[in-house]
Amino acid sequence: VTSDARPSVADELRQILADVTGNPEVLGISPETALFGAGVGLGSLSGTLLLRRVRLRFGVDVAGEDLNLDSLATLQTLAAFIDQRAPGQRCQADMSPG
């Protein structure tokens, strides 16, 4: 638990997912929601944009580290994948302006 009001990785991912899918309903999904199929309906284009945003924001190259992209199963699995790899980058990213 952090002392400030910094949003969690999962919250930031909800916002990124809403941006790349163009669907604001995604802002309210539970951690167990599937990213493919009926859940978020992530496709190849929105998925590629998601992975790029993740790389720019958290410094984690999901496609490079996870050949099978199992990390894209649910919101929770993707947040955990990022959390495990990027605590340092995350602090750095938060310190930099813009």
Binding site: L42, S44, L51
Partner: protein, 367 residues
């Protein structure tokens, strides 16, 4: 009418990458330079939006002899650079074209600014014949390509306002995907697709007309075509695949789709049909050998979504300099790129639930 063209620098205006070229900086791309001059002669102005240091703009201006009305060089999103140029020059977004070789940059700008006409360098080379750039000069074929972009723009504007799921939007657009067995008449377009597809080309391979004709006539192979249309327009044949239909399993020798069809459910429909048709034919599994490159990420996402996973056949092959170069150019943000031609076989068993063919796709029960 387009009043301003905003150009990317690396592998667009320049035949190479500014920061990676060593002491000998890359020359202008001759085909693009011709188009830029032609458009300039019609009174269309030029601007730059590039992930490069500011001095790159001066270099490009010197070697091309083009005057740029605005230049945005930096590391932020391209859509923001384009937005700043539009503001600075007081343009309407629909009077602006943006040309970039990178599919994702194009997707990002298209999504953020749906009114902007977003083009690949290949399309920009033809664009001088499009009505958007010149109402007087239109060939039938070029006119049709220009129309497709106008249709895409209308579709993107509606997509932005839609706010529902992608599936709902595709239904709302009356999307129609038609999967059919290929005939002899389909050979030229299938060949062209194999040459022009990079992001969605599973084997990273081109296939000759002769080879295609032989495969269409072969009893052991299925060659399929995929056509796409919706109420905004008809995109024609946007994809295809070559299947080795073995008794125990199907192997997809080549799976390809035009990047124009990205985000419209085509690849998902094709993968769903392949799984279901293979199951009906009595196959136990489907495998898709793929070249693993940064360009291939969209296809890997589609495969993961359809339940495919990389299996034991995954190998890292010997270095292939051309492929490594292509991958490196693609990974423009400095990501580590492993030299070598890395291939993986993505496969899935056909027991249990298979991906569903969407209601808007029509396909043969079994060819």
């Amino acid at each position: 009418m387009i009043k301003c063209v905003i150009w990317d620098i690396d592998n667009t205006l320049l035949a190479g990458v500014y920061l990676e070229s060593g002491p000998q900086l890359p020359p202008p791309d001759p085909a693009i330079l011709d188009v830029a001059r032609e458009l300039g002669g019609r009174g269309i102005i030029h601007a730059l939006a590039s992930r490069n240091p500011p001095e790159a703009a001066g270099y490009v201006s010197r070697v091309t002899g083009i005057t740029f009305a605005a230049a945005e060089c930096g590391w932020g999103p391209k859509s923001e650079a384009v937005q700043r140029i539009i503001g600075e020059l007081g343009l309407a977004p629909d009077a602006v074209a943006f040309v970039d070789d990178d599919l994702l940059e194009r997707a990002e700008v298209s999504f953020a600014l749906p009114e902007v006409l977003v083009l690949s360098p290949e399309d920009a080379c033809e664009a001088a014949g499009w009505p958007q750039f010149s109402p007087a000069v239109i060939t039938a074929e070029a006119g049709r390509r220009g129309e497709m972009y106008a249709e895409r723009r209308r579709r993107q504007e509606e997509a932005r306002a839609f706010g529902g799921s992608r599936d709902d939007f595709l239904r709302y657009c009356q999307t129609r995907v038609v999967i059919e067995a290929a005939g002899a008449a389909d050979v030229p377009r299938l060949h062209e697709l194999s040459v022009r597809t990079h992001q969605f080309n599973s084997a990273g391979a081109q296939i000759s007309r002769q080879a295609l004709a032989a495969l269409i006539g072969s009893a052991e192979h299925l060659v399929m075509t995929v056509r796409l249309a919706d109420r905004f327009g008809d995109d024609g044949m946007v994809g295809g695949c070559v299947i080795e239909a073995g008794q125990s399993g199907w192997s997809i020798a080549l799976l390809m789709m035009s990047c124009r069809a990205m985000g419209r459910g085509v690849i998902d429909a094709l993968l769903a049909w392949i799984c279901q048709a293979a199951g009906r034919a009595g196959a136990q599994a489907v495998r898709v050998p793929c070249l693993v490159t940064p360009r291939g990420v969209p296809l890997r996402i589609a495969l993961a979504s359809a339940g495919f996973r990389a299996g034991a056949g995954t190998v890292t092959g010997p270095a292939d300099a051309a492929e490594a170069d292509a991958a490196e150019a693609e990974a423009a943000d400095g990501r580590e790129v492993k030299a070598g031609r890395r291939t993986a076989v993505f496969g899935r068993q056909l027991a249990g639930p298979l991906p569903a063919l969407p209601g808007w796709a029509t396909a043969p029960e079994y060819p």
